[in-house]
Symmetry: C2
Amino acid sequence: MPLTIGVLGGMGPAATINFMAKVLRHSQESAAREQDNVRLIVDSNPALPDRNAAIAGTGPSPAPGLAAMARGLHAAGAQVLAMPCNAAHAFADAVIGATPLPFIHLVEETVGAVSREHGAARRIGVLAANGAAEARLYERALEASALIPVVPDQAMRANFMNGIWQIKAGDLASGRSAVAAAAMQLIAEGAEVIIAGCTEVPLVIGPGDLPVPLIDSTDVLARRAVSFALAAA
Amino acid sequence: MPLTIGVLGGMGPAATINFMAKVLRHSQESAAREQDNVRLIVDSNPALPDRNAAIAGTGPSPAPGLAAMARGLHAAGAQVLAMPCNAAHAFADAVIGATPLPFIHLVEETVGAVSREHGAARRIGVLAANGAAEARLYERALEASALIPVVPDQAMRANFMNGIWQIKAGDLASGRSAVAAAAMQLIAEGAEVIIAGCTEVPLVIGPGDLPVPLIDSTDVLARRAVSFALAAA
């Protein structure tokens, strides 16, 4: 039996649905019948405190809520945990400490995919929400791999973050413009690869939309979660 | 606080994702912020025994598995249950009996929507999978409302069911042809409204694709689940 994947979701709900669709796509690559697809138990909990405000010190921490979700997923039968929200990984320790389950770390897996798939690239553009940027989640992981993070300047970050809020509110067209503008700034500054380091980003741009390769953190997590689950089968 | 909706899913996984997207759309109609959207706890369990084979007496029953899923969702914090699979409603009693939670019945809600939204219609076409048809789920509910079910003949049902398997396997184009052909047969036989009475159907045809109104059971369930959850807020 493949392992049951527990998903800490709802950050936001559309990004969680996008993750599930990508899990299904990778699962179907090897599933002969519906019954062969991997099982997911998903807590899509949009009520969690905003991660960006918590990291900025202007709002309550989502850590206790994330730990409670991890315990609930464990109790419901999850055997491995994944969290399709990059900024929430500033609180990954709370999730990891809440249960004995393995946790597939979105940021580490994504930087690993960049190194594996684009080994010659040195300057890596990062499209991440304010919380992930303030916590330097991608910056630290890239520097640990001797890669150079390229990030938007302050004005562009504010515009990008506004786009993320638009996507979360369902206004994909406005969000797409803001995300694309930020990506183009990073490319102009020499980014050879762009990381979609916020799970709202792949809701509006895909691999074919930029003149350089785009690494979709949601897709990296989905692929890794499926291979992890199937390796136990 | 809105109620947390527990979802018995995975039958199939794409239909569950489609249901979640429709819940989000209806939830966003009233949500000002991401945090205002309804919480879902979803068990997407594709490993459940095939409902159609069970109803035909050629495979094991999914009833014990469905009851276990309902108990797991209850334990994880669900406050109301929904199951976006029509054929599985042949085993609704097992779900209802497993917990004290309210259960939103997909078939009853869908027939209710037909009566409410198309009160003048008498002949109602039903696109349902073999299991739902053999269990006469829609036939009984429609007749109880003095409506006349119009269903595919045997050859067309076999072709339609083949299309459902194609959709479940990810081959949407082939599935779409089979589903559309069945819908057109029902319309030729006088159906004034078509019920998408299998949650794979709205993955390939939408309201604008037929010359008569299409009632999407997935969307009916999503709308009802959101209003039920919000009524408690």
